[in-house]
């Protein structure tokens, strides 16, 4: 159920402002792809075009194509709601639904859409998703509680459980560890490595070590200056990008000479 993503000459605009320019990249299934680059270089914007989440912002639009196993996400008649059921997303800050219990949060994607599911299957799905997110042992005795006392890392794993309960083909993660301490970060990195057996994972991160640790492919984004669009500078196997990149700017960024 893991799917490949290909984009060709993708441009993203906010009204008249071009935020991302001519991105052509292939994202492999069953692998982790990391987007790195300085703040404001358009990597989060680009990530959000992969499940049409950028459309939530008024005036945002896209030119070019994004192919999910050959099917254009921006083709005529494509419903963004259906796209997002295939391409899940985890956000920078954990955003559980405050009115729901831990269990309801995991089932949110199903319950909010009024899908019918027998109770036994629901229990099964909750346990499976929470186990996949390495959270089951910590919350199994308080599934009916709101869980507002969970730690930041637990909240984030709960949001990951919520995303994988929908059985997406692709999981997009927008700086999922930036608000977490090193131990929770490690837990989530381990989780990503397990999840890549089943899903295509794309992660945006500011943490270079994290990109080096977990990703199989790394893509470096950069901007020429304020007001100019972000571009994909280069992408390739993580080992290569972090040892012998083709472009000088990549090496400068990775070695900490700027950014």
């Amino acid at each position: 159920m893991s799917k490949r993503i290909e984009t060709t000459d993708l441009n993203v605009y906010y009204s008249d402002f071009r935020a991302v320019e001519d991105v052509t990249i292939t994202i492999q299934p069953r692998a982790i792809t990391a987007f790195i680059g300085p703040s404001g270089c358009g990597k989060s914007t680009f990530l959000r075009t992969l499940n049409r989440m950028h459309e939530v912002i008024p005036g945002a639009r896209v030119e070019g194509e994004v192919l999910l196993d050959g099917e254009n996400l921006y083709g005529a008649g494509v419903d963004p709601v259906r796209v997002r059921r295939q391409v899940g997303m985890v956000f920078q800050r954990p955003n559980p639904f405050p009115t729901m219990s831990i269990r309801e949060n995991v089932l949110a994607g199903i319950k909010l859409n009024f899908s019918r599911m027998p109770k036994g299957e629901q229990d099964d799905l909750v346990e499976r998703s929470l186990r996949s997110a390495n959270l089951w042992e910590e919350v199994k005795n308080r599934l009916g509680l709101p869980g507002s006392g969970l730690s930041g890392g637990q909240q984030q794993r709960r949001c990951i459980a919520r995303a994988i309960a929908m059985a997406p083909a692709v999981l997009l993660m927008d700086e999922p560890c930036s608000a977490l301490d090193p131990i929770s970060t490690l837990a989530i990195e381990d989780l990503m490595s397990e999840l890549k057996e089943k899903y295509t994972i794309v992660i945006v991160t500011h943490n270079m070590q994290q990109a080096a640790r977990v990703s199989d492919t790394t893509a470096f984004f950069n901007i020429a200056g304020t007001g100019s669009p972000g571009r994909l500078i280069e992408s390739g196997p993580t080992d290569k990008i972090f040892s012998t990149p083709d472009v000088q700017a990549t090496e400068d960024y990775i070695s900490g000479r700027f950014g």
């Binding site: 997002r84 997303m89 956000f91 949110a108 859409n113 507002s148």
Partner: protein, 355 residues
């Protein structure tokens, strides 16, 4: 190199502290002194003047002692605190006074007959306001039924769909204008509208509901819009990312998150219109009998009952005035019960806490 002295002078970390008993002692002393000053100034023991003098004396004493012992910053802090406390107590005076007057005057007729009888065939003693209580419940209930859907849906459009487009700017403008419509105009509007539809002179409880809705809708729109905007965008995005359509996100995520505030807003809007007299006088009219039909014939309401009993007493004036006070007390109690119920409901629906 010269030693740098601290800009604010003192190098010590400690400062003088007034003993804890200072404030109570100052209050007691100021009370005595204020009373004495009031007697000196006016010759009689005027309670208002005494309190004013006592407060001024208290302000000055606390200012001086704090400044001497604790320093200027602490004195400023105490001064601001005392002024705010004074303003708060001043604001409580009308509330306390109204409650006291309504209870002490209203209890005379706050009896079983008041809640079981109407004014049908009653001249002089006896009688009750059951027709007015029912009328108020019907008319305000109907106004709520009309206003809440219109107001809530408008707020949803403003906060979720038409963010800063031309239509929503126009709606916001007209809602603001509507907030300022005098209530008598709302009554005339309802009267004229029903006059056009049903022929001149038509009066009914429903007509009163329309008049109240005109006053209620803008309040509901504004409070609901604010509350919907308070729902964090992250929750909407979380729902979208799970493949939940926008309308379902609003119905099942945004509104439940804001529901406790929305309920309080609606209750406040009801409390705002339940005491309206002028529009109901015109639109719902008045009658001495119980009318259970919202759509025909005049319907009595509590504010109109109070007004009518007070303005048109019969030969035995005191009997009518007692009924008026009892009516006012009932109205206050209804609003209070509404507030309590609203709080209970709001607490029931508030985002759950717990580990």
């Amino acid at each position: 190199m010269t030693a740098i002295t601290h800009r604010l002078g003192s190098e010590t970390l400690t400062a003088g502290r007034l003993p804890k008993a200072t404030i109570p002692v100052a209050i007691a002393a100021s009370a005595v002194l204020g009373y004495a000053l009031a007697v000196l100034a006016s010759g009689t023991a005027n309670i208002g003047l005494a309190i004013l003098f006592a407060f001024l004396v208290f302000l000055v004493t606390v200012e001086i002692t704090t400044r001497v012992v604790e320093g200027a910053r602490q004195a400023a802090d105490r001064r601001a605190g005392n002024l705010i406390a004074g303003a708060f107590l001043l604001a409580l005076v009308p509330l306390g006074s109204v409650t006291f007057e309504a209870v002490s005057n209203g209890l005379a007729r706050f009896d079983l007959a008041f809640f079981t009888q109407s004014m049908r065939n009653v001249v002089g003693e006896g009688g009750g306001a059951v027709h007015a209580i029912y009328g108020t419940v019907y008319v305000t209930g109907m106004a709520t039924v009309i206003s809440v859907p219109i107001g809530l849906l408008t707020a949803i459009y403003l906060a979720e769909y038409g963010v800063r487009n031309r239509l929503s700017k126009a709606i916001t403008f007209f809602v603001d204008v509507m907030t300022g419509v005098p209530s008598i105009v709302a009554g005339l509007f309802a009267y004229a509208l029903m006059g056009l539809l049903l022929g001149p002179g038509a009066r009914s409880g429903f007509e009163g509901s329309i008049a109240l809705s005109v006053l209620m809708i803008p309040v509901v729109v504004r409070s609901c819009e604010e509350l919907l905007r308070l729902v964090p965008n992250e929750l909407r995005e979380a729902a979208y990312a799970l493949g939940v359509p926008k309308w379902l996100t609003i119905v099942r995520v945004v509104i439940p998150t804001a529901i406790s505030g929305i309920i309080s807003g609606v209750i406040l809007a009801i409390a705002r219109v339940i005491g309206e007299t002028a529009p109901l006088l015109i639109a719902a009219g008045f009658t001495a009998s119980l009318n259970n039909n919202l759509f025909a014939n005049p319907m009595m309401t509590l504010p109109v009952f109070v007004y009518d009993s007070y303005a048109h007493p019969g030969t035995d004036v005191q009997v009518y005035w007692d009924r008026a006070w009892a009516g006012a007390l009932t109205l206050i109690l209804i609003v209070m019960i509404l507030n309590l119920v609203g709080r209970l409901i709001a607490r029931r629906f508030a985002p759950k806490t717990g580990r």
